[in-house]
């Protein structure tokens, strides 16, 4: 016997918060075990992530990456496709940015070069995702397997290119030469300084605006276009998609391309926005983080933004924590992130029966009209 469904606000609002609290409780126990007062740890993390303008800048910069990869997972998830290749697609996006910047940064001015580099990021990410998409649609290879394998191929490809081809002459580390000034996305503190507003310097750059645009675009596409209806139809009920005359193979390839393009934009934030040269492993796990972000954000663009802020805050606050408390290493921070992912992903419905029972009891006392 299944309890009646929870009110919407509990489902999308309360449940994720409960999951988060559970994750932090377990993290607190671990902190105790290594001899750290969890209350201090929480205070340092919160201050480190949101306590100053600079901290917020860093948090938003990390969140930008998660928005791109979170949207990538969310979009494909609505179509019933689980793209876990964000890491590799992000790497290829960075490669696209790097190639355009290295080829053109001495020829083209910034207003031409930057759109070109952004387009290259999207195109390279899309192209990298298109192969697993095509293989799933026309050859039946499951994308969960192929996209994750493509992450490894992407990583190896990047190592090969940076060690053998794109490495700066005379350099000992596998990275390209620095881009010229025309191939740099302005930092937000620079932009605001131009307007006469002083902001603390941080890596936050114009990519955050691109991420916001992507959120709106994904939302429009999913919920305001006939194509979005077809995409969600395929995700919910492939038989009905067949009945409605939707070409699910073509749809699969296109959705993977769009998803890859979104993940590829991580390259814009990292390479064009911050590093200003092509380096290895710049995605730093945000491709996988995007899965958790999307799960936690219920695959909705607004939810993705909120979850990205949380994950951005965790990365930034965690860095501060390991800096302030020598007994907390960076690995501890990864453990906390892992717990958040565990409780909001794999154990997302852990608290659901309790909440359902609780609300059923409430409902008997005061029947609400929400159902």
């Amino acid at each position: 016997m299944r309890a009646r469904p929870l009110p919407a606000w509990v489902d999308v609002g309360l449940l994720p918060v409960v999951n988060l609290v559970l994750a932090f409780c377990v993290s607190g126990l671990i902190a105790l075990a290594v001899g750290v007062d969890p209350r201090d740890a929480v205070r340092i993390m919160l201050e480190g992530a949101f306590g100053s303008a600079e901290a917020i800048g860093y948090t938003l910069y990390y969140a930008t990456n998660f928005i791109f990869t979170g949207l990538a997972v969310a979009l494909s998830f609505h179509a019933g496709l689980f793209n876990i290749g964000g890491e590799g697609q992000a790497a290829l996006g960075g490669l696209g940015v790097g190639l355009v910047a290295l080829a053109c940064d001495r020829i083209l001015p910034a207003p031409l070069l930057i759109p070109l580099a952004v387009a290259a990021a999207a195109l390279f990410g899309a192209g990298w995702a298109a192969i697993p998409g095509w293989l799933q649609a026309y050859r039946g290879s499951h994308i969960v397997v192929t996209t994750i394998m493509f992450n490894f191929i992407a990583a190896s490809l990047m190592v090969f290119l940076l060690v053998n081809v794109l490495i700066a002459p005379g350099s000992m580390s596998p990275e390209s030469r620095a881009f010229a000034a025309s191939a740099r996305l302005p930092f937000l503190h620079e932009l605001f300084a131009g307007l006469g507003v002083a902001l603390a310097p941080s890596p936050l750059n114009l990519s955050a605006g691109l991420a916001a645009l992507c959120c709106v675009a994904v939302w429009l596409l999913l919920f305001r276009t006939p194509w979005g209806v077809e995409l969600r139809t395929m995700g919910h009920n492939p038989s009905a998609a067949l009945y409605a005359g939707i070409d699910t193979k073509r749809m699969t390839v296109i959705v993977l391309c769009l998803s890859g393009a979104l993940a590829g934009c991580v390259g814009v934030n990292e390479i064009l926005g911050v590093q200003h040269r092509l380096i290895l492993d710049f995605a730093a796990g945000c491709g996988f983080g995007g899965i958790a972000v999307s799960l936690m954000g219920r695959n909705h663009p607004v939810g993705v933004v909120l979850a990205s802020l949380l994950f951005g805050g965790l990365v930034q606050g965690g860095a501060e924590l390991s800096f302030a408390m020598p007994s907390v290493t960076r690995d501890m921070v990864v453990v906390i992130q892992g717990l958040v992912i565990l409780f909001s992903g794999a154990l997302a419905n852990l608290a659901r029966p309790w909440l359902e029972a609780g609300f059923a009891r409430l409902g008997r006392v005061a029947p609400d009209g929400a159902g």
């Binding site: 009905a240 009945y243 005359g245």
Partner: protein, 519 residues
């Protein structure tokens, strides 16, 4: 004193929500006999067997095995009482060997090896005695379907089954495999096994069983000795002869053919012919009804005509377009040609349960005006259109933003029908147009269909309800075994003749059209 029946069910009732799947069903099967249960899809056969196998708990009623009352709370209980079941969809693990599948769940200890050794001996014994020969070390996934089914039977026997239930075992088999299966079942019966066979195929019932039990709409309506009944009589019992629904309609004035199918054939992915040599012409302004025991190719025919599958042989001509194996059409193209389709299985094809009603109300037409304008959805127009359909078809509750799953089956069906009639199609393919719809709504749906016919639409109705076909159709085509076995003008149709034609299941080539039977 006669021994008690191997299985006795007394007054079993079971409902799922509002649907009463079994009402007051009683059944007795003598030990060592071969019983058949027949009935149309949805008559409650599978539910009854699930109760007997402990998968569902009955709401009321008793189960007796060898005369002793038992409570079956799970399949484990059923197995302990000597009941084995071969499911319609095999419960096998394709990457394990035959032997491993057989012992799976019955290992009898933490160490696998003794169980495997015992199973190997048991398999050898069965191979000698029953002719159930199968290579014990073959991977199940590499075996043909018929052999996989024999593994299922072995599984049941290995667990000590004395009573074997087979749920529509022949649906996936070729005729040769079917013959082989019945040889094995006969051999098992000769060794004292009690066998219960569920099937829609009357030929199998007549060929193999001792007694046959007929279910209809959740009730057990008849028990017959197979030797003293006939296919025709059984078909009539299965479909039921009810009061003919009254429907005022003028005589049809058929116009030119709108959709013409020639020599349509369909083989499924296992190479079994599902349709064979179907010739059909739908003319403007007439309703053609397809009668037949469900599962005889009607669903496949609808899917072909709607573009959801491509025919293996033959062609379909509509307007200037000819569709065949090398030039398939998808449903979107056919909608563009004016072919609307009310799918038989509305939950699977017709709607998307979590979507709002207004989204379901445009499924398949989402790219057309007024729903789509300049690439964006016009949500106000969607709400308006859905609201208008809800008012015209009396769909309740009239809330365009309610989740599609929130409507009753009848209202979902009306919404789908309204959606498909709204664009004034030239051809309407209606599969089970009134399944699960209450009596009042049936009448209004029938009137809509007749009105659409009078506007010049060609309508094809497939229905499991013979009465519906008789009430609606101007021309009745009878299908059996994937072929058209006859055609009757509506004014000359009577349930008796049609029942006889429907009973003509899997006709042998060159056989007489219908077996003559004493009434």
């Amino acid at each position: 004193m006669a021994p008690p029946p191997a299985i006795e069910l007394r007054a079993i009732s079971k409902s799922f929500g509002a649907v009463q799947a079994n009402r007051d069903v009683s059944l007795a099967v003598a030990a060592g006999s071969f019983a058949g249960i027949v009935g149309e899809n949805g008559a409650g056969k599978s539910t009854l067997m699930s109760i007997l196998y402990g998968l569902h708990a009955a709401d009321s009623g008793d189960i007796l095995i060898d005369g002793k009352p038992v409570r079956l709370r799970s399949a484990r209980d059923a197995i302990r009482h000597g009941i084995g079941m071969v499911h319609q969809h095999f419960m096998l693990i394709e990457t394990l060997s035959v032997l491993e599948n057989v012992v799976l769940g019955a290992e009898g200890g933490a160490v696998l090896r003794p169980a495997l050794r015992a199973a190997r001996r048991a398999l050898e014994l069965l191979a000698r005695e029953v002719g159930l020969e199968i290579e014990p070390d073959a991977l199940v996934g590499a075996l043909p379907i018929g052999a996989q089914q024999r593994v299922e039977i072995l599984k049941a026997l290995y667990r000590g089954a004395r009573i074997l239930i087979l749920d529509e075992p022949t649906g996936v088999l070729t005729p040769q495999e079917t013959d082989r299966l019945f040889e094995i079942l006969k051999a098992l019966q000769a060794r004292g096994m009690t066998i219960i066979l569920i099937t829609p195929q009357l030929r199998e019932i007549m060929a193999a069983t001792d007694t046959v039990h007929v279910m209809r709409q959740g009730r057990m309506v008849a028990r017959r000795d197979t030797a003293s009944t006939s296919r025709a009589a059984l078909a009539e019992l299965m479909v039921g002869r009810k009061v003919r629904l009254a429907l005022d309609k003028a005589a049809a004035r058929p116009g030119a053919p709108v959709l013409v199918a020639q020599g349509l054939g369909l083989r499924d992915h296992q190479g079994i012919a599902r349709l064979d040599g179907i010739d059909l012409a739908l003319r403007a302004g007439e309703i053609v009804g397809i009668a037949g025991v469900s599962g005889n190719g009607q669903s496949e025919l609808l899917e072909l005509l709607a573009g959801m599958r491509a025919p293996t042989t033959g062609k379909i001509a509509i307007s200037m377009r000819t569709i065949d194996a090398t030039h398939p059409a998808d449903p979107a193209e056919l909608r563009g040609l004016g072919v609307a389709h009310v799918p038989e299985d509305r939950l699977r094809y017709g709607l998307i349960e979590p979507f709002e009603a207004r989204e379901t109300a445009m499924l398949g037409y989402q790219r057309r005006a007024p729903f789509s304008r300049r690439g964006l959805l016009d949500r106000a127009a969607m709400t308006r259109q859905c609201g208008a359909l809800m008012e015209r078809y009396d769909i309740r509750p009239p809330l365009p933003r309610l989740r599609s799953a929130g409507f009753s089956g009848g209202n979902q069906q009306k919404l789908i029908l309204a959606r498909e009639i709204a664009p004034a199609p030239r051809v309407l393919l209606a599969g089970q147009p009134t399944r699960g719809v209450d009596i009042g709504a049936i009448e209004s749906i029938h009137r809509r269909l007749v009105a659409l016919r009078d506007q010049g639409c060609a309508i094809l109705v497939v229905s499991a309800e013979l009465d519906e076909i008789l009430a609606l159709a101007d021309r009745i085509i009878v299908m059996a075994g994937g072929r058209i076995v006859g055609e009757v003008a509506a004014e000359r149709a009577d349930p008796g003749t049609i029942g006889l034609m429907m009973a003509h299941v899997w006709p042998a080539p060159g056989a007489s059209p219908a077996p003559s039977q004493a009434p």
